[in-house]
């Protein structure tokens, strides 16, 4: 019965829930979903992490390659991040090259990560102007149930934190390269960016902020994806992006900043616990 109601009166169905201060999946407005995190599940990668926020599942795998640095930046390595929204994760995506939406998500994740300055690209250089690491980070969404950016940032930073670089010997004279995989050094990571997504729903006269929205809630709030993404790192914001959805008042804005900060503490704890367990 509820299913039929949802199909015939989608807006009214959603409003009925919101009026009773509850969300369709039973959460309160400020509740977020459970986070499950696992590292190094995929052995063919150099580092990997799987995260599940509610139903949303994102896998990140890192592959290392070697290349010559760019001539204009001889002492910089490369870090290439891509987000893939597979056709299997939602019926909205079709097979083929990434859609505009996937590219927007990819760009947001790359921007947030670059702005957080977590990885110093100079650390990825082995011999200036000759050899540098290329770190390919591919984030794959297996199940898209909203707040994909949060999950992407979480897997990305977790897998980078567990990444180790094998030792490379470069002979300057013969230009010969040999890699010793038995000696590995961890990559230096500064800070820990944590992104939090919000959906802003206009129910006049008030606008309601939903934290960690599901795919259905994102759709009801009129956007493709979350409306507001706040990223907090090391006591600073490294990205506040708001698109579409309903317009946001000053008070609502302040509240979201506080929530984002609180959530970052929680996520930090989750990641640290997970990495600690892995070392044991």
């Amino acid at each position: 019965m509820a299913e039929v109601y949802k199909l015939i009166h989608p807006v009214k169905y959603f409003n009925d829930y919101i009026n009773r201060n509850v969300r369709p999946d039973g959460r309160k407005f400020e509740d977020q979903r459970n986070i499950k995190l696992n590292v190094n599940a995929i052995k063919s990668t150099d580092a990997s992490a799987v995260v599940k926020c509610g139903n949303t599942t994102v896998v990140c795998g890192i592959k290392l390659e070697l290349a010559k640095p760019k001539a204009e930046e001889p002492d910089f390595g490369f870090l290439v991040t891509n987000v893939e929204l597979l056709p299997l994760c939602s019926s909205k995506f079709r097979p083929g090259p990434p859609s505009d939406h996937a590219q927007v998500i990819s760009n947001i994740v790359a921007d947030i990560f670059a702005n957080s300055k977590s990885v110093n690209l100079k650390d990825l250089c082995i011999v200036p102007d000759k050899l540098a690491w290329v770190v390919y980070c591919d984030m794959v969404c297996l199940d898209n149930d909203g707040s994909v950016v949060d999950a992407c940032i979480m897997t990305l930073i977790t897998s980078l934190k567990s990444l180790t670089l094998p030792k490379v010997n470069y002979d300057v004279e013969t230009e010969e390269i040999s890699v010793d995989t038995s000696i590995r050094t961890p990559l230096n990571i500064n800070g820990l960016p944590v992104a939090t997504s919000f959906a802003v729903y206009q129910q006049s006269p008030r606008s309601i902020v939903l934290i960690d929205p599901s795919a259905y809630e994102e759709e009801m709030c009129g956007g493709t994806g979350a409306n507001l993404i706040i990223c907090w790192n090391n006591g600073q914001f490294c990205g506040i992006q708001k698109f579409g959805g309903s317009n946001l008042s000053n008070e609502a804005e302040k509240k979201t900043l506080i929530i984002a900060k609180e959530r970052s503490k929680l996520v930090e704890k989750v990641i640290e616990t997970c990495l600690k367990n892995e070392i044991k």
Partner: protein, 311 residues
């Protein structure tokens, strides 16, 4: 290769670092010798004719909330996810097709292969696997029940450690059953690698790689066979062989594979039966809760009635 404008690209000439490790320089014979030790045990501790079907086989359904049916299968390191969506009308169709169509897509994760990073664009191997999967599934699905409609089946290989087509078929079969698509039988699949007179049942990536690699000597059996079976009907729905081998070898392989496929069946059945049991229990729970709520409402109603009657 043209530059991909829809993704972030790394430098054009990057090379995986394992090209420079000692492992990479090993010859065919060295690699072959390494596959089995003197006791006839493989690298991962299995014997030649042992599949990864018992303790190393892990499968579940309901992986993906947005899909109609989904499955995840793990054969030790090989990890495969599959999702099936509702049938939808075929777009840009000129003629009426009496049989429903299956659209299968198999994709490798960029990080799935141990040797090198996979390109994002679909390559020949992915296309071949997609066709193989479609051919294997077509005889099992009751396609006459949804004419002019198309079923989307997406398979994603998270990690490739051999037998990925077999894993894909198993996962797709399970996902189709989970999506309640009418089928004639459950479909199971298994693969086998032949190197000389040795038969590696359910091969790993290293074994597969060596079986396809052709050393100079002719007349030696080498290759890869994947077979999909409908165990209850005792029919073969797909048989795929790469490499060259004599007829006796194929006959023997068929027998071995038939047995292995039948061994997988109880695993799949168990998952499906458990699903049904769980959903029944859930239904019961929901009904119980609904009744409780109704009773509470009725009690409220009585209360109000007495209040009203009292004036």
């Amino acid at each position: 290769m043209p530059l991909d404008y829809r993704r972030f690209n790394g430098p054009e000439d990057s090379i995986p670092y394992n090209y420079y490790t000692k492992e990479y320089l090993k010859s065919y014979h060295e690699l072959h010798r390494e596959l089995i030790d003197e006791n006839g045990v493989r690298k991962d501790g299995r014997t030649l004719d042992e599949a990864r079907s018992l303790c190393m086989f892990f499968a579940r359904t309901d992986m993906i909330s947005q899909a109609k049916g989904s499955a995840y299968i793990e054969l030790k390191k090989t990890k495969v996810v599959c999702s099936v969506f509702d049938p939808r009308e075929i777009m840009h169709q000129n003629e009426f097709s009496a049989l429903g169509q299956l659209f299968c897509e198999v994709k490798f994760a960029p990080f799935s292969c141990p040797r090198q990073r996979r390109p994002h664009a679909p390559d020949a191997e992915e296309k071949a696997l997609s066709v193989a999967l479609r051919k294997a599934l077509e005889p099992t699905v009751c396609r006459h029940l949804f004419p002019n409609y198309q079923l989307d089946i997406f398979v994603y290989i998270l990690e490739h450690d051999g037998a990925c087509l077999a894993a894909a078929i198993n996962a797709a079969g399970l996902a189709l059953a989970d999506a309640a698509v009418p089928m004639y039988d459950i479909i199971t699949a298994c693969s086998l690698a032949v190197i000389g007179d040795q038969m590696f049942v359910d091969p790993t990536e290293a074994e597969e790689n060596l079986a396809i690699m052709n050393p100079e000597k002719d007349g030696i059996n080498n290759g890869l066979i994947t077979m999909a079976v409908m165990p209850e009907l005792r029919q073969i729905s797909d048989f795929r062989q790469i490499g060259s081998m004599d007829v006796n070898c194929i006959m023997k392989a068929t027998e071995v594979l038939q047995k292995e496929c039948e061994k997988i069946l109880p695993n799949i059945q168990q998952i499906l039966v458990l699903n049904v049991v769980n959903s029944f229990e859930q239904q019961k729970q929901l009904e119980k809760e609904a009744k409780e709520r109704e009773a509470a409402l009725n009690a409220k109603m009585e209360e109000w009635k007495t209040l009203l009657n009292a004036g």
